[in-house]
Each structure stands twice: as structure tokens, then as C-alpha cells.
């Protein structure tokens, strides 16, 4: 697979942070690949395994264990809504419904092994995630790497408008 030089540089930098064991760089490399390609493709798994002198299964084990890694494309804007208690008490289930409605995402799409539902136009995707540690300002969500707290059903419309 073709790895652009700037990604390769980041990969080598990440590996240098683990002078004792290259294997430790597995999660950082997966983050880099997901940031770059949008998801973890099969060939990325093979490439990373080879780079770290591991078996491909060692990387596949991680991709399927750590919920942040995905094996298919999410929307251009991936929305993570917190599902856990304080946010749920503050209306995160309703918030998720609202986002689905506003973005055209099927609220019943996905399942245990495929928690990410994508809007038909591919612009948005939604994932109900567990506690993202801001319970005091519930409900909270993330849109890509941006964090939003105290999101109300009213404010989400304005928020989504910023991500076109």
C-alpha cells in the first residue's frame, strides 16, 4: 500500500517513543492511519503488522477491541454522543434521536459489531459511545475531534449547521 511521506514520518516518530518495544506503537499507528484514511483498512492492518514485526492478527485483535477504531468509513463528520448514565439522565437518548432525524440517519441502523450509522449522503455518522468524562455538563458529544457539552435539542441544530 502507498504510504505518503508525511504519514510515514509520523509513523517513525511514533515508533521512536517506544525504545523498549515497537509493539507499543500499535495503538499510535492505528490512530495515525485512522486519522489519515478515515478508517482502518485491511491493508493498513497488514502494513502496520509488518512495520512492527507482528502477525496481522495482533493488529486485528486491537482494531476489534478498542471501540474508537473502525473498519469502514464513517461520515465526514462523525458524531459521538455519550450514552452513559449522567448524559442519559440529561437526555442523550433524545439527543441521539434528534441528531438522527436532523441528519437523515436511520436511528435503528448498526448493531453490536457495527455501532456506526452513516447518513445517506455520507456527511454525518453517529455513534452512541460510553462515558466521555464530562458528566457535569451533560449531555455531551464530540463531532470529529471537537468536544461539545451541555448540548440541548435546540442547540444541536445550530451546531450541525457548522458542519456542512
Amino acid at each position: 500500500m502507498q504510504i505518503p511521506p508525511e504519514l510515514l514520518a509520523k509513523v517513525d516518530e511514533a515508533i521512536s517513543h517506544y525504545p523498549v518495544s515497537k509493539r507499543s506503537a500499535a495503538l499510535p499507528l492505528l490512530h495515525l492511519f485512522q486519522e489519515h484514511f478515515g478508517y482502518i483498512a485491511q491493508e493498513s492492518i497488514l502494513w502496520i503488522a509488518e512495520k512492527l514485526e507482528l502477525q496481522p492478527i495482533h493488529i486485528l485483535e486491537l482494531v476489534t477491541f478498542y471501540p474508537m477504531f473502525r473498519q469502514k468509513m464513517a461520515g465526514k463528520y462523525h458524531i459521538r454522543v455519550c450514552r452513559t448514565l449522567s448524559c442519559a439522565m440529561a437526555g442523550s437518548y433524545e439527543l441521539r434521536e434528534k441528531i438522527c432525524k436532523a441528519t437523515g440517519i436511520d436511528p435503528h441502523a448498526g448493531g453490536h459489531h457495527d455501532p456506526i450509522a452513516v447518513s445517506p449522503d455520507g456527511r454525518y455518522s453517529i455513534e452512541f459511545v460510553e462515558c466521555i468524562a464530562s458528566c457535569g455538563s451533560a449531555p455531551v458529544c464530540m463531532i470529529n475531534d471537537d468536544f461539545y457539552e451541555g448540548v440541548t435539542e435546540a442547540s444541536i441544530t445550530d451546531l450541525l449547521a457548522r458542519y456542512q
Binding site: P56, I57, H58, E61, F65
Partner: protein
């Protein structure tokens, strides 16, 4: 005596451990679960395997544990019986990952332990398909076994079970049922720690955890089938064995693998004359608990429809072509008598047992030939068990004078002799002469060709006398492996048809070839033969077949 004790290794420290109220002693370094087993308190376990690392994940081996209560002087407080008072830990502990310690106490069957086992078994079964009637592991399944012993008879689970992949071709020889898998990771650890081919792993998370290979790799190691052996449940099954036979019908015979010079110890499982599988048997001096797939599966040829089942003699009139054993042996022996020793050669085999080799050497002496050797079989070996030398008994052939010092070095002169006509009679024992430097055309030149064989080959086609013999699982006898360990074959099944034990054929041929006729032999049983061989062979002096035992004996050669 005093000098001896001075050089003796330091004594192993013995530790006092209380098991179910009884104080016992165990050497330092004994794993607690093993100490309990030695005390006849078998602790149920799934993930623990003595030859692998201990992840402690199945939680089946939970026991109640305590340590001596320490007084203010940092010394154990003693009770009325003069033994330490025990401080029991209020929660159960696993016994698979801890070594015994001085003053340690365990309860292997207390209410706390019983509850813990019941709980773990229930957890293991709630998502299990409970498809025992169609599961190959039934009868040797630890889930079944421990459920009967420690489990609940009633299910409380009202929910849908977790669905996982079934019937997965995880390797060329293995099928995986993930719903039956209890995620003990024995197979994963075996492939990582022993086979050094770390292809197995778990994907997904929590109750959805699933054993798998990466799609681009398969479980195709030559040691893959060991994972089937150590799988405590029916998750990994052998394609070769699955659906063939319920295990409780199988009769087990202790044997060893004859596919290379390692001689991995095995158990042969058979029913009514048919072998269904061969599995490794623990022998820490030979093969630990493992064997290679190649050796394990190399028994099917014994059940080939092509097996030779009747003696035959070419040089008699066609109507007498099937002369029967006595007639054929007599004629063959008589025919041998008409050649000078220098006109006869013997191509023997490193696959013959010691007993057969001994008689082969006797035959050579009787004939007066020194043109005798075995056929080398070399192939790629590995660092684990598989030897490059695919002959299982080269050491025996050397010891008994059948093999040249370098196995096969006399084969060239034998071939030359056959071609030049100097060698007129050829005896081929369990080999195909066309693998020993001769062509089928060369064989046609011989006046007399006598062979013992299991299966038809180029040599049997040309043979004047053909004697069908017995395979490794069909006979008794001994061999010496590459580390000079004397090991014993036992008969798991009878040879097919009229095929006979090789040693009996050789005995009768030897008798028939003697000028002073027959029945001089006092070899009625293989024990007689072993005794005679042992008496004549210094390295084997004083041994008998029974003394070899199930695990073999090291020889000084």
C-alpha cells in the same frame, strides 16, 4: 558415602502446606494446582495447562486459600496442634498461577469453592450451544465432565445466546466452532509459546470475544492439531477425526509415532480393527505433550484398500500362485539355500523394529552375506520435534548390525552387484528397492527377489516371493529413537487379511533357509525373541519388552 553426599545437588526445600485440613510437604516451586492433584484433590481447570503459561482466565480452579496468621513477633501464631493458625482470605483464589508457600493452606471443597465453581460453570454454559449430541468432543469434554461434577442441573438463563461463527475452516486440518469456545486461550498460547507461529487471537470484546486467525493467515502449522488436543471443549476439532466415531467407543493403545527418528509417544484410538486417530501422549523425555500433524495423520496408509493381505509366489505355476504361508515360506527358504552368501543381498529398513532387525541380521549371518544395509529417508526437519531423519529406528539398525555405519552407504555396491549379476538373490524388507538405487529393470535381473511389504510397489511387482507384513500399529516390538531411547510399540489393531507380524515371517524364513530343517526355533513369542536379542546385545542386556515400560528407557550406546 560421605564423598557422594558432598557432590550431591543441594536438597530441594520442602514446604509445609495444608490441603483440606491435612498438612503435607511439597518441593518449593510446586504449582498449587499440582500440589492439590498430588494430594488426590484434583482441581477442575480449563485454561491451565502445565506446559503453557498461566493466564488465570477461566476461573475454574478457584480455591479457598489462607496463610499463617502472624503474631506481633512476625512469627506464625501456633494453634493447639502446634501448627500455624490460618488467616483465610475472604475471597477465592486461583490455584493455577501460584506456587506453594510455607504455611499455605487451601480448601478445595468448601462451600465458598463449591459456589465459585457452580457460578463459573453456569457462566460458561449460558452462551454455550449445548449441542453435545452432535459435538465431537462429547465424552472427552471438560465442560461436560465438570458440569456433572460441580455444576447445576437447572438453567436460569432466559435470554438469547450470543451468536458466533460456526463451522469455520480455521486451518487445513481444523474446524472451529466459536460458539463452543470458552476463550481459555490454550490454543493461542500453544501457537505462540510452543509452535512459535502466533496466528491465533481473539477479536471483538467481552462476551462477543471470538477466536480467529487473520483472514490472510490460517492455522496451517505442522503442529496445528495439538490445539485440538488441548482444547478442553469442542471448539477446535480435527477434520480427520470429526464425525467419524464417538470417543467412548474407542479403545486406546499406548504407542509411539514411527514417522521420524524422534518417536513421539502416542495413543492410538481404534475400534473394531479400524484406527480413528493418533494423539500425542506425554513424555517429557521425548515429545513433552505434543506431536507434529504429519506424524499424527500418518496412519491412514495402514487402512488403505491396497494393503497386501495374502502371500504370493511368482515362480510356482499359476494355479499355485497363492500357495499359503507355510508353502511360500518353505519354498522361499529353500530357494535361498541355492545361493552362495556373496550372491545374496538384503535391503533392510530403518522402519523395522529391533526384533525384526535382530532376525534380519541372523538371516544375513545364516546366508553368509555382508551385503546388507538400510535405506536412508531424509527430509526437512524442524527445531521442535520433526527430525530430518524419517527413519524411526536407525539407532536400532546400527546397534544390531543391519545398517552400515553411515546408513545406506552399502546400497551402492548392492545395486552394482545386482546390475553386474554378482548378486543373484535380493531380500527387500519393508522398503521399495527402487528407492535404494535400483530400477525396476535391475530388479528383473535378479534370480530371486523376496520382499516383505505392507503395500504394493515397484519391488512387490517384481517379487518372486511376497510376504504381506504388519504396520507399526499392528504389531509389537521396540525401536530406538535419535536420542538412543528404547521405546515400545503395542498392537492397536490386527493386521489385515492374512498379513503377519514381520518377526514371525522373518523367523520362519530363517528356519526355512537352514540346511538342517525347521522347527529348531524356540521363538514362540516376541518376548522370547526380545530375550534372545537382549542376551546377544550388550546394550540391551537384562532388558525385556515389559521393562521398557510406557515411557521407554534411555540406552547407553
Amino acid at each position: 558415602m560421605s564423598t557422594e553426599t558432598a557432590t550431591a545437588p543441594p536438597p530441594v526445600q520442602m514446604l509445609n502446606v495444608q490441603i483440606d485440613g491435612v498438612w503435607m510437604q511439597f518441593p518449593k516451586g510446586t504449582r498449587l494446582i499440582e500440589a492439590c492433584a498430588q494430594a488426590n484433590k484434583f482441581i477442575p481447570r480449563y485454561c491451565y495447562h502445565p506446559k503453557l503459561s498461566s493466564p488465570g482466565n477461566c476461573r475454574m480452579c478457584l480455591i479457598e486459600m489462607g496463610m499463617p496468621k502472624m503474631g506481633p513477633d512476625r512469627q506464625p501464631e501456633l494453634g493447639e496442634d502446634g501448627r500455624p493458625v490460618i488467616n483465610w482470605i475472604p475471597r477465592p483464589q486461583i490455584s493455577c498461577a501460584q506456587d506453594v508457600a510455607e504455611g499455605m493452606a487451601v480448601r478445595t471443597d468448601s462451600p465458598m469453592v463449591q459456589d465459585a465453581r457452580k457460578g463459573v460453570l453456569e457462566f460458561l454454559l449460558i452462551n454455550h450451544p449445548l449441542d453435545c449430541p452432535v459435538c465431537d468432543q462429547a465424552g472427552e469434554c471438560r465442560l461436560q465432565e465438570f458440569s456433572v461434577e460441580h455444576g447445576n442441573s437447572k438453567s436460569r438463563f432466559l435470554e438469547h445466546k450470543v451468536k458466533k461463527p460456526k463451522n469455520v475452516a480455521i486451518g487445513p486440518r481444523i474446524t472451529l466452532d466459536d460458539e463452543r469456545c470458552i476463550l481459555c486461550s490454550r490454543c493461542v498460547r500453544f501457537m505462540r509459546e510452543v509452535a512459535k507461529d502466533d496466528v491465533l487471537g481473539f477479536v471483538n470484546r467481552g462476551s462477543y470475544n471470538t477466536l480467529t486467525c487473520h483472514p490472510e493467515r490460517t492455522l496451517d502449522s505442522n503442529y496445528s492439531l495439538n490445539t485440538v488436543d488441548i482444547c478442553p471443549v469442542g471448539a477446535l476439532t480435527s477434520n480427520d477425526f470429526r464425525f467419524k466415531m464417538r470417543v467412548w467407543f474407542l479403545a486406546e493403545t499406548k504407542s509411539f509415532c514411527t514417522s521420524c527418528a524422534t518417536g513421539c509417544n502416542t495413543t492410538i484410538s481404534a475400534r473394531q480393527g479400524t484406527i480413528y486417530r493418533q494423539t500425542p501422549r506425554e513424555n517429557n523425555d521425548v515429545n513433552s505433550s505434543w506431536m507434529c500433524d504429519y506424524g499424527r495423520l500418518n496412519f491412514h496408509y495402514l487402512q488403505s484398500p491396497d494393503r497386501l493381505v495374502r502371500p504370493s509366489a511368482k515362480i510356482v505355476p499359476p494355479e499355485e500362485n497363492e500357495p499359503g504361508w507355510d508353502e511360500a515360506l518353505l519354498r522361499a527358504g529353500k530357494a535361498l539355500r541355492s545361493y552362495k552368501g556373496s550372491e545374496v543381498a538384503i535391503i533392510a529398513s530403518g522402519r523395522q523394529t529391533n526384533e525384526e532387525l535382530y532376525l534380519t541380521a541372523e538371516l544375513a549371518r545364516q546366508i553368509g552375506t555382508e551385503q546388507i544395509d538400510i535405506v536412508p529417508h531424509l527430509d526437512l526437519g524442524d527445531d521442535l520435534l520433526l527430525s530430518a531423519d524419517r527413519n524411526p529406528n536407525v539407532a536400532g539398525a546400527r546397534l544390531l548390525g543391519v545398517s552400515a555405519p553411515t546408513p545406506g552407504e552399502r546400497l551402492r555396491s548392492i545395486a552394482d552387484g545386482v546390475r553386474s549379476g554378482a548378486i543373484k538373490a535380493l531380500i527387500v524388507l519393508g522398503e521399495d528397492a527402487t528407492e535404494a538405487g535400483l530400477t525396476e529393470e535391475d530388479l528383473k535381473k535378479t534370480d530371486l527377489l523376496i520382499t516383505l511389504s505392507l503395500l504394493p510397489n515397484a519391488t512387490t511387482r517384481q517379487a518372486d516371493y511376497l510376504f504381506p507384513s504388519a504396520g507399526f500399529a499392528e504389531k509389537r516390538g521396540s525401536m530406538i529413537n535419535k536420542t538412543n531411547r528404547l521405546q515400545r510399540l503395542n498392537r492397536a489393531v490386527e493386521p489385515p487379511g492374512e498379513a503377519r507380524d514381520d518377526w514371525e515371517i522373518l523367523r520362519d524364513l530363517l528356519n526355512a533357509s537352514r540346511e538342517a530343517a525347521a522347527d529348531s526355533s524356540d521363538l514362540f513369542t516376541i518376548e522370547d525373541l526380545f530375550r534372545q536379542m537382549a542376551a546377544a546385545t550388550p546394550a540391551l542386556n537384562g532388558l525385556s519388552l515389559s521393562r521398557i515400560g510406557d515411557l521407554g528407557l534411555p540406552l547407553e550406546l
